[in-house]
Amino acid sequence: MSDAAPLVVEGLTRRFGATVALEDVSFEVRPAELFGLVGPDGGGKTTLFRILTTLLLPDAGSARVLGLDVVGDMWAIRARVGYMPGRFSLYPDLSVEENLRFFASVFGTSIEEGYSIIAPIYRQIEPFRGRRAGALSGGMKQKLALSCALVHRPDILLLDEPTTGVDAVSRREFWELLAELKASGLTIVVSTPYMDEADRCDRVALVQLGRILAIDVPSAIGARFPAPLFAVRGGDRQALIRALREYPHALSVFPFGDELHYSDARRTASPDGIAADVRGYLATKGIEGTVEAIAPGIEDTFMALMGAPPEAAA
């Protein structure tokens, strides 16, 4: 199984001066898997992509892409990988079609030869094929960049934060496109700072400050949350936050949309017992609150695994 893995990363480390961008990172991606690297900026995701695409050398460790070594087999890897860098990577003064034609020709192919693979995406922007790439909207730029990364029919697709700065609707549509590509058998590695996108992946690695905090299927990540978790509502949000933070058993209190997520330091009590206690405590503060045990999500777990707050970690 390991031999067939399209991506194998072992002990990868990379420093920039005193900054450790990647520290002993290891993971494997399976054939036709949609694998997510989820975490904030500065986590090392871009450094990892640059090593995997042979643009940067690691200080230690190794990586094999499609069975090829990222240091020794640089040219062979480049021909078979589709890469969409984080920043807008197209030529703003060339038209949509000129950009695509250019990327196709660099890889010794043509739009016509690659058309069947890019069609589901390219058809959406083809009506604007004469427009300058620099004049496209964010969502259209993203679709053009993806078309350019796909036109040479790569065996693996590496996408560095394709949805950053893109609105919620365009993000959703982009993930639907990725699901279609995955269904066609393509292996995809994609990074994102949006925790809510992790659920779209087969497996995710949570990445923070150059380290992998956890790797698992999205539905199993929540099980790593270390304490009972509750959704709390009621009264003024700021007053509720203050009251819960003063509660002696509080482990963490974070706003989540229109509710608060509260975790409790007690391990022996039942969730129902804790919920009743917290409700009672809030009542003494004059707050009539609802407290409901919930299953932790990826963002809950990410924050718990981050451990020390960023002040201490930085």
Binding site: P40, G138, M303
Partner: protein
Amino acid sequence: MTHAIEVRGLTRRFGSFTAVDAITFDVNEGEVFGFLGANGAGKTTAIKMLIGLLAPTSGEATVAGCDVVRESDEVRRHIGYMSQRFSLYEDLTVRENITLYGGIYGLTDEAIRDRGKALLAALHLEKMADERVAALPLGWKQKLAFSVALLHEPAVVFLDEPTGGVDPITRRQFWEMIYAAAARGTTVFVTTHYLDEAEYCDRVSIMVDGRIAAMGTPQQLKQDHGVATLDELFVRLARPTAAAHG
């Protein structure tokens, strides 16, 4: 109630394209107002007009009581601004950025020193004061940029996607800073692509194709439209145009 921002029929056309189409709304003093919309809906154009960088084609607006066209210099003295893309000079140190912006905002040397000191203490950045901003983690940069945007105690602060790419804990710390500023009376006008953050606003507006398609408290909007989350409402309102705009 006094309005920190008043917008009446504000419109901006580029050639035959209407980027902002007669929008009208008020923002109350000390309010946290979320200004939402899909890419290309007209948010940036609207913000540029409100901070006096772009003249409207028609309509009018006042910010902190100043007319954005006739008194645009005065507007800029009363506002703070930060964005995800640009806010601080990366090659200057933390202290140099504070001094530079303090000077630009017309603070006295004494005020720059005192407020700079308080700012560094509040952010626990004393030890980093003489480091280049480029060396700071993103989350710290954004917190520093926000504090610097508040240095001259503006009546209104505009935040354009301030938390993009920031880790989830720092993102929430950033929102606590927003609440603290609002509690001191500063009006906060904020855009975000994180719809959970929209829930933290006192009121939000959702722009679609240059118009305001919905506006109200998060609670009220969800009730009126029969949705569980603002994310659901956003997708429902913005989806019909998504195909046209890509």
